[in-house]
Amino acid sequence: MNAIMIRDLCFKYDDKMIFDHFNLDIKKGSWATIAGPNGSGKSTLVKILLGLLKSEGTIIINELTLTHVTIEHIRESVGVVFDNPDNQFVSETVADEIAFKLENLGVEKAKIRQDIMDIANLLDIKHLLNKEPHKLNNGEKQLVILASALINKPKVLILDEALSRIDIISREIILKVLADYQSAGMTIINITHNLEDTIYSDDVVVLNDGQIVLNGSKEEVLVNEKIFSDLGLELPFMVQLSLKLKFYNLVDKLIFNMEEMVDLLWK
């Protein structure tokens, strides 16, 4: 069962072919990282999926084919967090910001108030509800944008370079919340050039120049040292460690957790 199915996607920009008969499947309920160097087409792909850019080919999201008729329906079931929070805020309080999508859907006031409370509790941002979004620090801002994307419980969540500017505490909260949502069935797609993020995901897709270079589970994909090196992408610390130790026959697979690695090395 696929949350997203892309077939024969063709997209041109300024006479340059960005995607040429591109195909990709994202399994429902999985956490997929789409990685690639700058200019590989990652962010363009996000915009195409959300109908912000017109393209040719077939795109099916949550079993709905993307057309100008279904686009609103699709956007209802897909939440997005872009990377610059300041350019996404429309309201002057956090609560209003979170309410935005529900207001647009015509949800009634009492339900909006309740949903805001629920998500604020979940993301631990109740104390921020009456604050002005632009005054928060980067981590808090991203939590607010995340809340406003998750407020209507979308089936798919797309993060576009969204985790690059945040501090540890906010990052931990976000990752834990996302893991919980994934357990409840949400599909998560994290677009990034920072491979440290792949540790949390199930699958990894590597793009370069609009083409898929690698696609599979993280255990399958992250062992391809040379490809990542050629693309100028640095593998996560734990993966680098695993691969080098594997070379010395001290471990026999990729280990993503530091404690697990230490226990394995010194049994």
């Binding site: 609103e72 429309v90 002057e92 209003d96 006031k109 002005e132 632009h134």
Partner: protein
């Protein structure tokens, strides 16, 4: 550097004024301005001023914020006093003028301090909605106003950062002569324009993906229904206006 606190901005508190429907507040401002304009009597104006001070108290906004608004206008007030002095107005007239001006500014501050910009925009939209008949794009206007208001602090913060970046490379707006200031402003405009365009693009996309549709009706979760208190206050304003007009006619 530019101070984003200088404009009389929304101060969150619990009060009957905060809970009022913004449309009602706007109607009251219009009525009040009319009242202020036709009141030439000093006793009447003092009464009005006292009532305004009572309403300020009702708003639960700290008095220092009201003071800040007046303080921000001190140059204008001094200017007006001087001009009137020069054209030969007497002390009573000048005092009356200053009193009316300050009262008007305080009254308007009650609105800006108790109403977030998006509600003001909503109230404006309601106020101007009859004009939809002549095809005026009222909703779009209200949205533009609302977004502009929301972005003022962001733009100020960004300008400050750009000015600092300039200063670090030799163009210091604050500490330069006129020529230096002109160069600084010209250099400020370029990044501001480029970044504003990018912001507009990003914002439009962020709103679209969250299903913003200007032509569709949307809930405004914060704005309260029209309540009895709203009717009461509007009627009070109308009453005061009527009484004053009546007295003037009788005289």
């Amino acid at each position: 550097m530019l101070n984003s606190m200088a404009i009389g901005r929304y101060y969150k508190a619990e009060s009957k004024i905060h809970d009022m429907n913004p449309f009602a507040k706007l109607i009251c401002i219009i009525l009040f301005v009319a009242l202020s304009m036709i009141s030439n009597d000093i006793k009447l104006n003092l009464t009005i001023s006292i009532i305004v001070i009572l309403v300020m108290g009702l708003s639960h906004v700290p008095l220092r914020l009201y003071y800040k608004t007046i303080f921000g206008m001190r140059l204008l007030i001094i200017f007006i006093i001087i001009i009137n002095f020069l054209i030969g107005a007497n002390y009573i007239e000048i005092t009356l003028l200053v009193l009316r001006l300050i009262t008007l500014v305080l009254y308007t501050s009650i609105l800006t301090l108790t109403t977030p910009p998006s509600e003001i925009a909503y109230g404006l939209e309601q106020l101007l909605s009859p004009l939809k008949i002549i095809k005026l794009p009222v909703s779009k206007l209200a949205l533009s106003i609302s977004l502009a208001l929301r972005f003022i602090p962001t733009i100020i913060d960004q300008s400050n950062r750009i000015l600092k970046a300039q200063a670090s490379r030799g163009i210091d707006f604050q500490n330069s002569d006129i020529k230096g200031k002109l160069v600084a402003v010209k250099s400020l405009l370029l990044p501001m324009f480029v970044l504003s365009f990018k912001r507009a693009e990003d914002l439009g996309e962020a709103m679209e993906v969250r299903l913003y549709n200007i032509d569709k009706p949307r809930t405004n979760y914060r704005v309260n229904r029209w309540r009895f208190f709203d009717t009461y206050i509007v009627v009070m304003h109308l009453a005061m206006l009527t009484v004053v007009i009546a007295r003037m006619i009788i005289k």
